[in-house]
C-alpha cells in the first residue's frame, strides 16, 4: 500500500469515525442525563437521511433539506420526550427497551407510508460536488473532506457547550448527581427535554450528512445503532470524550480491517469490543 492510498484510507476511517461520534454522542448524552436507553436512536439516523432525501428532491436544495430535516428531527424529539420518554425516567431498562422497540416499529412503518422503501441517493450541494485529483488514478470527493470539517467543527461545538457554557455545566452536574442538581433548583424537566431532542437531532444529523456519500435505505438505522452501542461500550457510558475515542477506534478498525482482512472485517470491531470488556468492563473512560 503506497502512501497516497494509505492517506485516503486513513481519511475515510477518520471521517467514518467522526460521523459515528456525532450519532453515538447523542446516544451517550441521553443515557448520561436522562438515564434512558434509546434503541430507536438508529431509527432517527435513518429518518434524518430519508427526510433530507425527500426535502432535497422537493426543494432542490441540499441546504434547505439540511435545515428542514434537522428542525423536524429536533421537534420530533421534543414531542416524543413530552409524550413518552418523560414517563420512562426511573423505569427499569426492560421497559425502556420495549418502548424504544415499539417506537422503531412505528417509525419504520411511518417511513414506509411517507417515503416508501426504495433505496435513494442524495446529490451533494453543487459547490461541494467536485473531487480533488490526488494521483493519475486516485481522486478524493470534496464533499467527503467538507464532511470531515463539518464533523470536526460540530464535535468541537459539543465539547465547548459541555465544558464551557452554563448549559453544559448543568448537563454535567445532572449526569453526576441528578437529585442534588434538582435540589439546587435547576429546572431539570427542561434540561431533559432539550438533551433528548438534541440527542435525536445528532442522530438525524449523522443521517443527513452521510446521505450524499452513501445510499439512503430502510435498514441503515440498525447498523448504526449497533455501532453506536459498541462506541458507547468502548468509551464508557455518559462520556462524550470516551465516545470520541471509541468512534475513531471503530472508524479506523473498520476501514483498515476491510483493506487488510476483508474476510473477517465484519467481526473485527466486536473483537475490539471483547478486548476492551476484558480489560476495562466500564469502558475506556467509564467510571469504575
Amino acid at each position: 500500500m503506497d502512501i497516497v492510498t494509505f492517506a485516503v484510507q486513513l481519511l475515510n476511517g477518520v471521517q467514518y469515525g467522526l460521523v459515528l461520534f456525532l450519532v453515538a454522542s447523542g446516544l451517550t448524552l441521553v443515557f448520561g442525563i436522562l438515564g434512558v436507553i434509546n434503541l430507536a436512536h438508529g431509527a432517527f439516523y435513518m429518518l434524518g437521511a430519508y427526510l433530507s432525501w425527500y426535502l432535497a428532491s422537493v426543494t432542490g436544495s441540499f441546504a434547505l433539506a439540511f435545515v428542514g430535516a434537522l428542525a423536524i428531527a429536533f421537534l420530533l424529539g421534543i414531542a416524543l420526550e413530552e409524550v413518552f420518554v418523560k414517563r420512562m425516567i426511573g423505569r427499569d431498562h426492560l421497559a425502556q427497551v420495549l418502548l424504544s422497540f415499539g417506537l422503531i416499529l412505528v417509525i419504520d412503518e411511518l417511513r414506509q407510508i411517507l417515503f416508501g422503501k426504495d433505496v435513494h441517493s442524495v446529490a451533494p450541494p453543487a459547490w461541494l460536488g467536485g473531487s480533488i485529483q490526488l494521483t493519475e488514478v486516485l481522486s478524493y470527493p470534496v464533499y467527503r473532506l467538507a464532511l470531515c470539517v463539518v464533523c470536526l467543527v460540530l464535535a468541537g461545538a459539543i465539547f465547548y457547550v459541555l465544558q464551557k457554557t452554563r448549559l453544559g455545566m448543568v448537563v454535567r452536574a445532572g449526569a453526576e448527581n441528578r437529585d442534588m442538581t434538582r435540589a439546587l433548583g435547576i429546572p431539570f424537566d427542561l434540561v431533559n427535554r432539550y438533551v433528548f431532542a438534541g440527542g435525536i437531532a445528532l442522530a438525524a444529523l449523522g443521517g443527513i450528512l452521510v446521505a450524499p456519500v452513501s445510499t439512503v435505505f430502510p435498514g441503515m438505522g440498525d447498523g448504526m445503532l449497533i455501532l453506536s452501542f459498541v462506541v458507547v461500550v468502548l468509551g464508557g457510558i455518559g462520556s462524550v470524550a470516551g465516545a470520541a475515542i471509541g468512534a475513531l477506534l471503530i472508524g479506523l478498525t473498520d476501514t483498515f480491517g476491510k483493506v487488510f482482512f476483508p474476510q473477517i472485517s465484519s467481526i473485527l470491531i466486536y473483537v475490539l469490543m471483547a478486548g476492551v470488556l476484558l480489560w476495562r468492563p466500564n469502558g475506556l473512560l467509564g467510571k469504575a
Binding site: F31, G35, I37, L39, F84, R87, G90, R91, D92, H93, L94, A95, V97, L98, L99, F101, G102, L103, I104, L105, V106, D108, E109, L110, Q112, I113, D222, I226, F229, V230, V232, V233, I237, Q263, S266, I267, Y270, M273, A274, L277, L278, P281, N282
Partner: protein, 336 residues
C-alpha cells in the same frame, strides 16, 4: 399460596389437555402454526430464565436460536435427514460454548451495558452469517430433510408428519418448562433471584454470583438452541434475519406481555403475541405500526403483562392469590 398453586396447576392441566387434543380437532395449517408457536414459546421461556429470574436483559437470544438452525443446516446431508442423536447434541454443545464465551464477556458488565453488549454480540453472529459465505450469505441455507429420529435403522418418530412434529415440539416445551421450574425452585434458582434483587448482599452472603449467572445464561441459550433447531427443521430454511436483534426484542415483548418471573407467563405471552400478529397481518397492511403501538401501550398501561390483567379481571378472592406474582414485577430499576 397453596390455592394459588392449585389454580395454576388446574390452568396448566387444562392447557395441556387442549394442546394434546389439538391435532385431532384442527386442520394441518393450525397444527403447523401451533408447532411454530410452541417453539417461540420455548424461546420466550428460555429468555425469561435470565430476564425474569436473573434480572439480566439479554438481547442476543435470537442469535442462539438462529445459530442452532445454521448448525442443523450444516449437519444435514444432501441426501437425507441428519440423525438427531448426533446433530442435536452437537448443536446444543456448540451453542453452549458460544454462549459461555459471550456470557463471560457480557456478565462483566451490569444493567444497560449488559443490554448493549449482548445486543452487539448477537449482531456479530448476524453479520458473521450475513456477510460471509459460510452460511450462504444473506440468502441463507435450505434444509431439505427434517432430522431423523431412528434407532438401528427403524424410524421411531417421523418428523415429516406434521402431527408427530407437533407432539415432539410439545414434549420439548413441557420438558424445558419442567426443567426451568426445577431450576427456579432449586438453591441455584434462589441464588439467581437473590443476585437480581441485591447483588452486593448476595455476594456478601457467599453466593458465586458470576458463576450462577453464567450457568443460567448458558442453560437458557441451550433451551433457545433447542427451539431454534426444531424451528429451522420446521421451515426447512435458515436465514441471517432469524439471528437479528429484532427477533430478540420480539421475544422480550413475549416475556413481558405474559408476565415476568413465572413459567406460564412467557408461554402465554408467546401464544398471545403470535395470535395477535396473525390477526393484525390479516387485517392491516401496515400491521407492524399497530404492533409497535400495542407494545408502547403495553409498557405504559400494563407493565405486569397478562398476569396483571388477570389480577385485575379475577374476582376479589382469587385476586389476592394472584397479587404476589404481580407485585414481583420490579417497579424501579433493579440494576445499580
Amino acid at each position: 399460596m397453596t390455592s394459588r398453586l392449585s389454580h395454576q396447576t388446574l390452568l396448566a392441566a387444562l392447557l395441556l389437555a387442549a394442546a394434546t387434543a389439538l391435532p385431532f380437532l384442527a386442520g394441518d395449517y393450525y397444527v403447523q402454526f401451533a408447532a411454530k408457536a410452541i417453539l417461540l414459546a420455548m424461546l420466550a421461556l428460555s429468555l425469561n430464565l435470565v430476564v425474569g429470574y436473573g434480572g439480566l436483559v439479554s438481547m442476543c437470544h435470537a442469535a442462539f436460536f438462529g445459530l442452532a438452525g445454521y448448525l442443523l443446516a450444516f449437519m444435514t446431508p444432501e441426501s437425507g435427514g441428519a440423525s438427531i442423536w448426533l446433530s442435536l447434541p452437537v448443536t446444543l454443545a456448540v451453542v453452549a460454548a458460544v454462549a459461555a464465551v459471550i456470557g463471560v464477556l457480557s456478565l462483566r458488565t451490569r444493567g444497560v451495558y449488559f443490554i448493549m453488549v449482548t445486543l452487539a454480540f448477537g449482531e456479530m453472529l448476524f453479520y458473521l452469517f450475513h456477510d460471509t459465505k459460510i452460511g450462504g450469505g444473506s440468502d441463507g441455507l435450505y434444509i431439505y430433510f427434517k432430522p431423523e429420529i431412528a434407532l438401528a435403522g427403524v424410524t421411531l418418530v417421523d418428523l415429516e408428519s406434521h402431527r408427530s412434529f407437533y407432539y415432539v415440539t410439545l414434549a420439548c416445551l413441557l420438558g424445558t418448562a419442567a426443567l426451568v421450574r426445577a431450576l427456579v425452585g432449586s438453591p441455584f434458582g434462589h441464588a439467581l433471584v437473590a443476585a437480581k434483587s441485591n447483588e452486593r448482599r448476595a455476594l456478601s452472603l457467599g453466593f458465586p454470583v458470576f458463576r450462577v449467572r453464567l450457568a443460567a445464561f448458558v442453560i437458557s441459550a441451550m433451551i433457545a438452541a433447542l427451539a431454534g433447531f426444531f424451528s429451522a427443521a420446521q421451515f426447512g430454511f435458515i436465514a441471517p434475519q432469524v439471528l437479528g436483534w429484532h427477533m430478540s426484542a420480539t421475544a422480550l415483548v413475549m416475556v413481558v406481555l405474559g408476565g415476568l418471573s413465572s413459567i406460564l407467563g412467557p408461554i402465554a405471552g408467546a401464544l398471545a403475541l403470535l395470535g395477535l400478529e396473525e390477526l393484525l397481518k390479516s387485517s392491516f397492511e401496515q400491521w407492524k405500526l399497530v404492533k409497535g403501538l400495542i407494545i408502547i401501550a403495553l409498557v405504559f398501561a400494563l407493565p405486569g403483562g397478562l398476569q396483571q390483567l388477570l389480577g385485575l379481571l379475577l374476582p376479589e378472592r382469587a385476586k389476592d392469590e394472584i397479587k404476589p406474582a404481580v407485585n414481583a414485577v420490579p417497579e424501579v430499576a433493579p440494576h445499580v
